[in-house]
């Protein structure tokens, strides 16, 4: 039995005004997609940022196992080490492409950046790798030299995926990556993502306010309300038989849709 990529216990981030996230426990395995669902203000982004070390935790533990099998306690990790892991082992996909992409350089440069940060110095190879990744996210390699500003919203999100996955991270954090997309564009994006997760074996933690997204993608789901996990388990089980009143509300809302 393989070890979890991420083990979270008793994690809390307290903004000091009663807001934040509290008492978070879960484990995440290789190749697994975990969705964090909940209404606006329930603490989803706070939890994600705390897991990724972008916010400092106030209590609890987050243990990450890297590719080589070494374990890191993320809540007390030195900044330099955290940034190294962020470069080499993680990805972060944001809701707004402008927060996750460099809008003023080409798609090719966007995809190549992490490789260059890791020391790759062969332009021809970088370019070929970037072109292959564009194709993997269903963008023509002809668009390699175009800037993301010339891309549709759906393409921009797919470009973010390519930019993050190019270094084959072990764990990718995503905060509402489909938030700004039309329903049909969103479906295509989720489909692509499911395929890439399957092919690469990465683990994904995705924040969404839409249980429908979780249904399409996630083996397991955390339901959050007011900074706490009110229900956690297999996504199918939550959908079939939600226990908490808030989960029941969420489920009934997507079943109606």
């Amino acid at each position: 039995m393989s070890q979890p990529v991420l083990s979270v216990s008793g994690l809390a981030k307290d903004y000091g005004n009663g807001q934040g996230c509290f008492d978070i426990d879960f484990e995440l395995y290789e190749g697994e997609v975990l969705c964090i669902v909940g209404e606006s203000g329930s603490g989803k982004s706070t939890l994600l940022a705390t897991l990724a070390g972008r916010l400092s935790a106030d209590a609890g533990s987050v243990r990450f196992r890297d590719r080589a099998g070494s374990s890191h306690e993320l809540t007390t990790l030195a900044e330099a080490e955290r940034r190294r892991l962020a470069r080499s082992e993680w990805g972060f996909v944001t809701q707004h492409a402008r927060d996750g992409l460099r809008m003023n350089v080409s798609a090719g440069a966007n995809v190549s950046e992490r490789l260059m940060a890791l020391g790759q110095r062969h332009y021809g190879q970088l370019r070929e790798t970037a072109a292959q990744w564009l194709e993997k996210v269903e963008i023509s390699r002809e668009r390699l030299d175009d800037r993301p500003t010339a891309f549709s919203g759906g393409m921009q999100q797919r470009l973010q995926i390519a930019r993050n996955l190019v270094t084959q991270p072990r764990l990718v954090f995503m905060d509402e990556p489909t938030g700004g997309l039309d329903v049909s564009v969103q479906a295509r994006f989720l489909d692509l993502l499911r395929r890439l997760v399957h092919d690469t074996g990465i683990a994904v933690i995705m924040v969404t306010h839409d249980l429908g997204v979780a249904r399409l993608l996630a083996q397991r789901t955390l339901v959050m309300q007011q900074g706490r996990v009110v229900e956690a388990g297999l996504t199918d089980q939550i959908l079939d038989d939600p226990q908490h009143p808030y989960s029941q509300l969420l489920v009934s809302s997507i079943l109606q849709a």
């Binding site: 900044e79 330099a80 940034r83 190294r84 470069r87 460099r102 350089v105 080409s106 090719g108 440069a109 190549s112 950046e113 992490r114 260059m116 940060a117 890791l118 110095r121 062969h122 332009y123 021809g124 970088l126 370019r127 390699l144 030299d145």
Partner: protein
């Protein structure tokens, strides 16, 4: 003699007061101790607007001594307005000897060039820097660029070079070409042509950089490794010219193209006027 001069001066020796000079020297010592690292300093008002080399002038003012021999160049020339003004300024506020000869100078202030005549041990070059942050065009936030330096995260710089090649087929950056100093800090060599970058590497002279508006100074101490960034398949290379200097015949120096008449006739001559002169005299 010195006494008499003193009584006529309106200002302290070299214009700046001794406290300011000490503050600058402390910052310079730190800069020398951490090659390529940008040290903040409290920039003083100078009797020249930013963009006229106030950063370089403050550094020169903080280190110049009675026995120094000062050379000031703008582009490669000693006789341009900016160079003449700065040289006059220091002659007036210090009384030190000035020269246009690279070999005779102990202290050289420059904006755009490193002289062709090889520098030697004991000489100091002071560069006037308009933008000390090599990453600035790519990352506007100072807080963020400081972090990138602290963690030696320089992938971004290669993004720029990548973009150059994607757009122009080669690395089109031809001046202010980014360098890695002592295998640690990414630095901007100020707007010297990349032609001069190899002169930074293992230079026997001390190289100091001052940015007045940005209030930053940094240094490349003698015999420091300085590497110009590049790709394996697009290695760093310097400008080359088909022709030799029309005045001195040099094949090795950085040439400026000048228009010689109304019909648009052109010729190529050394940008380093002192070097060109030496070459011409050497032949005569």
């Amino acid at each position: 003699m010195t006494e008499a001069c003193h009584s006529q001066w309106q200002y302290n020796f070299a214009f700046l007061d001794e406290n300011t000079k000490r503050m600058l020297r402390r910052a310079l010592l730190k800069a020398v101790a951490i090659p390529g690292y940008q040290v903040p300093f409290g920039s003083r008002e100078m009797p020249l607007p930013y963009g006229w080399g106030t950063g370089g002038i403050q550094l020169t003012a903080s280190i110049i001594g009675q026995d120094d021999v000062l050379k000031v160049i703008d582009q490669g020339a000693d006789d341009t307005t900016n160079a003449v003004n700065i040289r006059r300024f220091f002659a007036r506020v210090t009384g030190v000897a000035t020269t246009s000869s690279t070999a005779a100078a102990s202290l050289i202030q420059s904006r755009h060039r490193i002289p062709e005549t090889p520098l030697r041990s004991g000489q100091i070059m002071v560069f006037q820097v308009p933008e000390p942050e090599a990453l600035r065009t790519l990352e506007a936030s100072e807080v963020e660029t400081r972090k990138l330096h602290a963690h030696q995260e320089y992938g971004l710089m290669h993004v720029k070079l990548y973009e150059d090649i994607a757009r122009f087929g080669h690395i089109a950056t031809s001046y202010d070409y980014p360098v890695m100093v002592n295998q640690r800090y990414l630095s901007s060599p100020s707007p010297i042509p990349k032609f001069d970058n190899p002169k930074l590497h293992m230079s026997p002279a001390l190289l100091l950089f001052g940015a007045g508006r940005e209030k930053r100074l940094y240094a490349i101490p003698p015999h420091t490794r300085v590497e110009s960034l590049a790709f394996d398949d697009h290695p760093f290379s310097v400008q080359r010219w088909e022709q030799a200097c029309a005045l001195c015949g040099s094949h090795d120096s950085y040439l400026d193209e000048i228009i010689t008449d109304d019909a648009g006739a052109r010729m190529f001559v050394c940008s380093d006027t002192d070097y060109c002169q030496q070459q011409q005299e050497g032949k005569a």
